[in-house]
């Protein structure tokens, strides 16, 4: 194996600093004892973490985000598994069009999706409702789940299912005993990626929430655009730690690169 030279090492260090700097300052600022954003903080204080407890809207928004993420990731995963099996295991007329449709939310600018959902939900009288939000999120995260599940399905040897059928298993048994266990890493990876995407989603959500269904990113966004106090930093720090914990778990059980690269199939 050829190793990197000095230039490559320096480049990588500078790059890592660039990638981590904004996260480091957010975490640093959140420990300030002062009433304004300062970095490095003049002292270490948990003042702004205690302040989170005095602002129940942030906590409510966080709970809303978790509920939304769990509901939409689960629905998306459940509908993506059969769709991925259909698309991944054989050619049929319209297959490419179907796949393109399910991946299209990636190509449509999110702001366009946001206003389209707003228009649709307000005409249906569903604007600002929890389930309205859930189904909008399902549309946005389906491409992520589908790509990962599809990668597992196409990696599957089709003769395994045929072998099970030849031994007398019904279609449902084949799915439950053979196919599902084989694609489960992709399914779990897809669910987690979908949850995180939903949990972090801002651009679409900002159009379709009302004060009762505000999510954490929307709450943070409106807070940042109105005032700048270290409260946003402490909330962000908690969100970063939550994500990092989730990330480390995923990296252990599935591999972060596999999750985000999708095993080379796009």
């Amino acid at each position: 194996m050829i190793r990197n030279g000095l230039f490559a090492k320096l480049f990588s260090i500078v790059f890592a600093v660039f990638m981590l700097a904004p996260l480091v300052v957010v975490i640093g600022v959140s420990f300030t004892p002062e009433g304004f954003l300062e970095f490095p903080p003049s002292g270490i204080s948990l003042r702004w973490f205690r302040a989170i407890l005095d602002n129940p809207d942030f906590i409510e928004a966080a709970i809303m985000s978790v509920q939304l993420g769990v509901a939409s990731a689960t629905i998306a995963t459940v509908i993506c598994i059969p769709a991925a099996l259909a698309i991944g295991s054989g050619r049929f007329a319209g297959r490419d069009a179907l796949q393109a449709l399910f991946l299209s939310p990636l190509t449509v600018p999110t702001v366009v999706l946001g206003i389209a959902f707003l228009r649709f939900l307000s005409m249906m009288g569903l604007n600002g409702t929890f389930w309205g939000l859930v189904f909008c999120h399902v549309v946005i995260i389906v491409p992520f789940v589908l790509r990962l599940v599809l990668a597992s399905v196409t990696g599957l040897d089709p003769s395994i299912a045929r072998a099970a059928t030849s031994l007398g298993a019904s279609d449902w048994t084949v799915f439950r005993r053979i196919t599902l266990p084989a694609i489960i890493p992709g399914v779990v990876g897809g669910w987690v990626l979908a949850f995180i995407t939903s949990f972090d989603e801002l651009t679409v959500t900002v159009f379709i929430v009302n004060p009762a269904t505000t999510t954490l990113p929307v709450k943070l966004f409106s807070h940042i655009t109105q005032t700048t106090d270290p409260l946003v930093a402490s909330v962000s720090t908690v969100a970063i730690l939550f994500t990092v914990a989730l990330m480390l778990i995923v990296d252990r059980i599935y591999g972060l690169d596999r999750l985000l690269i999708g095993e080379g199939s796009r």
């Binding site: 990588s12 954003l37 993506c80 769709a83 206003i115 228009r119 690269i261 080379g264």
Partner: protein
């Protein structure tokens, strides 16, 4: 033999997409042809008035020009940083490589709002960078970085460069590592190996990564909204203002549809170009 089975299996997702994606997009397209006045709200008329308004107003040209310029510069910088970084990662010791993968991919999973807040803290007139420069007497007055296109580009590069690295990484993984050794055994130095052997093989990844980065940057919302505010508007923040502040939904819809069509057109043209260029060499 297969018959209707694939359609039955995809039916739940298909119905959802028809109801929740296709219908709303058609409604938005229709909305963009309606008219609006401040007293009567949205009128169900059908005309090209909103498009005429947008396309005849230099204010909107400026916004679209800025949007695509920011996206283009972001893409170029992301490619210039991301390509060598992906290559270096490929050659790292496995331990450092997995650390670097966390550094590169981790931020992808952290909300853009949080990351942009970090940049706001760094870039402000009293922000970390200006304070540091002042402490070392390198500047007298703060460099203005908040509410500038440059600041937006910097933060967008941070958001987008992981996508570029992922795309280049995927292309480099398909490369036979022995090609580098072969070139070296034939007398090529490290820079020549990179330029003549690695770069051409990474090119499909760079091109597909550029496409992703460009389209995401052109429609980015959170970063320009927080770092540009009302002063440095881009297409998506303009749409936001039309919908949630001015409440002129038809005009906002028209701007959004123009953005959508422009992004799609650029993507299709880019794909055509790439396919033409690489026909025969790479499948």
């Amino acid at each position: 033999m297969i018959g209707t089975r694939p359609w039955l299996l995809s039916a739940p997702a298909l119905v959802l997409f028809l109801v929740m994606l296709v219908t709303p997009l058609i409604m938005t397209a229709v909305l963009s042809f309606n008219s609006f006045d401040f007293y009567g709200g949205i009128k169900p008329t059908f005309g090209l008035g909103n498009y005429a308004d947008v396309l005849s107003d230099s204010y909107f040209y400026e916004i679209f020009g800025r949007t695509f310029m920011i996206a283009l510069v972001t893409t170029v910088i992301a490619a210039l940083i991301g390509t060598p970084q992906a290559y270096f990662m490929l050659r790292m010791h496995p331990f450092w490589r997995s650390v670097m993968i966390l550094v590169v991919l981790g931020p992808l999973l952290i909300s853009v709002v949080v990351r942009t807040l970090g940049w706001a803290i760094l870039l402000g007139n009293n922000g970390v960078i200006n304070e540091a420069l002042r402490r070392f007497d390198m500047i007298e007055r703060p460099i203005k970085m908040m509410y500038t296109s440059g600041g937006i580009v910097l933060a967008l590069v941070h958001v987008m460069v992981p996508f570029m690295i992922l795309a280049v990484w995927a292309a480099l993984q398909r490369q036979d590592p022995a090609t580098e050794k072969a070139a070296e055994s034939l007398g090529a130095g490290p820079f020549t190996v990179f330029r003549r052997i690695v770069l051409p093989q990474a090119m499909p990844g760079i091109l597909s990564g550029s496409l992703i980065v460009f389209s995401l940057s052109a429609s980015a919302f959170a970063t320009p909204a927080i770092l540009g505010g009302r002063r440095v508007k881009v297409a998506s923040t303009t749409v936001y203002d039309e919908f949630l502040n001015t409440l002129n939904w038809p005009l906002g819809a028209a701007i959004a549809i123009i953005l959508l069509v422009a992004v799609l057109a650029i993507m299709v043209a880019w794909n055509r170009l790439v396919e033409k260029r690489f026909a025969g060499v790479f499948q």
